[in-house]
């Protein structure tokens, strides 16, 4: 098991390195001067030159590249050209909000995916099954920002049930902040009104993202459960007179889970991409909003840092998923 984990980690390193390289060079090939974006069009050329020197942008590109890799290896993601703060510190401030959103979206997606998918598989060919298939194609094609806007319109503007922007109402943030995840902090502090407020703010964004992602899960679960339901152990279980519900959820679903789990892990990357759009639509103060803000100001360090952060995050998740899979199903290891 240990060697398996180590191999998985070892294999992730080249992947991250490739991403680092692509990000670095693509950003530099694109037109647009970060110094001009930072100082504004009215800056005199001498100041621009001095700034370029200070940021090391006048060095040969390969030297810049090596410096950049060295710094990342040391955990130094550079300083934002907009705020002058260390990028890693800024990312850590924004990360809890993104984590909160992605976890809740995942819960929504998994919940819909497993129930809808399993039932559709069980009632193969019935209207429920057809609706599930239509649902997944239909929902998968929803652009996240459009779907978010629709939910905002219906539950916010028309019904006035739920807030449409931000992570909390004004002056309703948990105090003190422990983790940065508002729901957790509110529970730790026992601030129930803050918890209620945070949950209300979380509903629409996580539904938006969760529902869009769920489309893939519904299909995956359905296909896998259909497969396991035709297996002999299911027939055997039924023959022994085991309750249908138990057959479905305990026997069939459980055995269909490992491949689903892998896919879910991989969906995390998609989830983070979707989180960027969801965060922008709902003014959610996470890494996605941060990234979009910084792209507009050509903040090299921040853009690079965010993408590397995402890459490492996805790599860790996929290692975790693999390890869990190997643990559930030892055959994977060999």
């Amino acid at each position: 098991m240990k060697s398996y984990i180590l191999t998985r980690i070892g294999l992730s390193i080249p992947m991250i390195l490739i991403i680092l390289t692509i990000v670095f060079f693509v950003l530099r090939v694109l037109p647009g001067n970060p110094v001009l974006a930072m100082l504004g069009p009215k800056a005199p050329p001498s100041v621009v030159k001095a700034m370029e020197h200070q940021m090391g942008l006048d060095k040969p590109i390969l030297v810049q590249y090596v410096d950049y890799l060295k710094n990342i290896a040391k955990g130094d993601f550079g300083h934002s050209t907009v705020t002058g703060m260390p990028v890693l510190k800024e990312l850590m401030q924004k990360f809890p909000a993104t984590l909160e959103l992605t976890i809740f979206s995942m819960v929504v997606a998994v919940f819909i995916g497993i129930f809808y998918g399993t039932i559709a598989a069980y009632k193969l060919g019935s209207p429920i099954d057809i609706s599930a298939r239509i649902y997944s194609i239909f929902v998968y094609s929803f652009p996240v920002f459009w779907f978010g806007l629709m939910l905002q319109l219906i539950f916010g503007v028309w019904l006035h049930w739920l807030p449409v922007s931000g992570e909390s109402s004004p002056f309703m943030t948990p105090d003190p902040i422990h983790t940065g995840i508002y729901i957790l902090d509110a529970i730790i502090n026992g601030q129930w009104d803050v918890l209620k407020d945070s949950l209300e703010h979380l509903i629409l964004p996580s539904l938006t993202l969760g529902i869009v992602i769920s489309s893939i899960f519904v299909r995956m679960v359905r296909a896998n459960v259909v497969l396991t339901l035709s297996q002999q152990f299911v027939v055997a279980a039924r023959a022994r007179g085991v309750k249908e519900k138990t057959v479905l959820f305990k026997h069939a679903l459980k055995n269909a889970l490992p491949p689903i789990l892998t896919i879910m892990g991989l969906q995390f990357a998609l989830l983070l991409g979707g989180a960027v759009l969801t965060e922008v639509t709902f003014s959610w103060p996470g890494i996605g909003s941060y990234l979009v803000n910084r792209i507009h100001s050509r903040d090299f360090a921040a853009i690079q840092g965010t993408i590397v952060f995402f890459a490492i995050f996805v790599a860790i998740i996929s290692i975790l998923v693999d390890v869990i899979n190997a643990w559930i199903n030892p055959r994977v290891r060999y």
Binding site: A37, A50, L149, P163, H296
Partner: protein
């Protein structure tokens, strides 16, 4: 499973029973302002975009300031001032006992430190001071002198702008831009700043002027007009200032749950020609394009009549304004183009550049409308190209674009700021036009030195006439400020110098 579900439900019922209490802070005590603008820096030496400056204008104060709703300058932190006869020395006398929001004193030394610092840091707005200020000399605690390099009539207006605001030498480093929570000298101070999300302002208890009317102001930043609009409709913000789409604003105006206001703005938009870029090196081609542009149609079709046509660079309402540019005349445009040898089979081929989001979501429609107007002559083939803002800035500095759309906010409220940066040889490359005319240079320099307003206005008339002949720019329209608020919000003021004053707002 059922047990688990009922546990969750029980938990939520419990939460909603215990929770749902009223806000800890009464809603009367705060106002939430929503905007699509961004804050880049709250260091007066660096902040130069609209919202950064506007926040500074609410938390800091300079030597002088404008009377709200006017362009008249009155003392701010200074009690009074004297200008030497040759216009080269400004002596300021400070009010006594001035303090920053952290209790540190504001004295003559602070002002010297702040001005020297801006010049030394060489950030975006620093040229406003470094171009004219020779040195600052402290006389005593409340008196100091500013020496200018040459007489500069609009200097007092620069002192009212954010770049001249004092900063605390104990907190702000002399050779580094400050990124922390600003130390305030105005009606408000920053309590909490979540970058890219929101900023919370509370009353500055050390402020010696009139107390801000509402204890807390929360400025929330929205990604685009749609998210701002939805938040407004859902009642999550009290005031929406900058910037809803024209159609959204028109809809809100009919909605009786909101009040809306329209006011003047010193913001202008123009087409820039790079006069060193073929074929725009030819004055006649620029002139033909100026004739072909129909501002009235732009204003109506693209902006729902929420802006006004502009026929010179100096906005209407400011002294020195003279509408010199030719009005829409397609026949004239065709005539000129024909005389240059262009025909239906051999049209003039040009490219119009624009930046899709920097000036709001209407920009693509604006570019398309101009393209269609030019092509209506039948003798022009116009291609559209766009680039995001950072790239766009890079392009015009390098002279890559021959004809492009640009806009301008003044740094100080004086015609000089609408003439010098555009037309002076030393400045026009910064605008991407590379225009140079000796006569214009002479006149502009002269206008800077003359103190008499009437005489200066005369010089600016002359300059504008030359501009109309040379056509390095086609001024298009002048913006308007628009604000929407809930009906219980009072004290909204759309100022001609476009300072949105949070400290006058209150809830009824």
């Amino acid at each position: 499973m059922r047990k688990f579900l009922s546990l969750i439900i029980a938990f939520f019922v419990l939460v909603s029973l215990i929770g749902g209490k009223a806000f800890a802070i009464s809603s009367k005590n705060y106002i939430i302002i929503g905007t699509t603008d961004k804050i880049s820096s709250l260091d007066p030496a660096k902040g130069y975009d609209y919202l950064s400056c506007n926040i500074l204008q609410n938390i800091m104060e300079g030597l002088v300031k404008y009377i709200p709703g006017t362009t008249k300058i009155v003392p701010g932190l200074a009690k009074s001032w004297k200008i030497s006869k040759d216009g080269l020395v400004y002596t300021f006398y400070l009010k006594k006992g001035l303090k920053f929001s952290n209790g540190d004193p504001i004295n003559a030394k602070v002002f010297k430190f702040s001005i020297d610092r801006v010049i030394k840091l060489k950030q975006d707005p620093s040229f406003l001071l470094s171009d004219v200020v020779k040195k600052v000399e402290v006389v005593n605690d409340t008196e100091f002198k500013i020496y200018l390099k040459y007489p500069f009539a609009p200097f007092i207006n620069i002192l009212a702008f954010t770049v001249s605001y004092p900063v605390d030498p104990k907190v702000y480093s002399k050779d580094k831009v400050y990124n922390g929570i600003p130390v305030a000298s105005g009606p408000y101070m920053v309590k909490k700043w979540v970058r890219g999300q929101q900023i919370e302002l509370v009353r500055n208890l050390y402020y010696s002027g009139k107390k801000a009317k509402t204890p807390i102001i929360l400025v929330k930043l929205y990604r685009n007009a749609n998210t701002l609009y939805i938040a407004l409709l859902n009642g999550e913000i009290d005031v929406a200032y900058r910037t809803l789409l024209p159609q959204q604003f028109a809809k809100i105006q009919k909605n009786k749950h909101f009040i809306s206001m329209v006011g003047p703005s010193p913001f202008i938009r123009e087409i820039v020609f790079n006069v060193k870029y073929k074929p725009f090196t030819n004055r006649k081609i620029r002139e033909a394009i100026a004739y072909a542009v129909d501002r009235k149609q732009i204003v109506k079709d693209v902006f729902n009549n929420q802006v006004t046509p502009l026929y010179t660079l100096i906005p209407k309402g400011m002294w020195g304004h003279k509408p010199v540019m030719p009005h829409h005349n397609i026949k004239k445009a065709v005539e000129i183009l024909k005389s240059l040898g262009y025909s239906k089979s051999n049209p003039l081929k040009i490219t119009l550049w624009y930046s899709p989001s920097h000036y709001g979501s209407t920009e693509a429609a604006l570019a398309l409308t101009i393209k269609n107007q030019l092509e209506k002559t039948g003798l022009i083939k116009c291609q559209l190209k766009s680039a995001e803002w950072a790239t766009y800035v890079d392009y015009w500095n390098k002279g890559v674009m021959g004809m492009f759309l640009l806009g301008w906010y003044p740094d100080y409220f004086d015609p000089d700021d609408y003439m010098w940066p555009f037309l002076a040889s030393s400045a026009s490359n910064g605008m991407g036009s590379f225009y140079s005319n000796k006569k214009v240079d002479e006149l502009l320099l002269k206008a800077r030195k003359v103190v008499n307003k009437k005489e200066r206005a005369k010089i600016y008339y002359q300059v504008q006439q030359i501009m109309a002949k040379d056509v390095p720019y086609v001024p298009l329209f002048q913006g308007k400020q628009r604000v929407v608020a809930k009906p219980n919000i009072k004290g909204l003021l759309l100022d001609p110098v476009q300072i949105f004053r949070y400290y006058l707002l209150y809830k009824k």
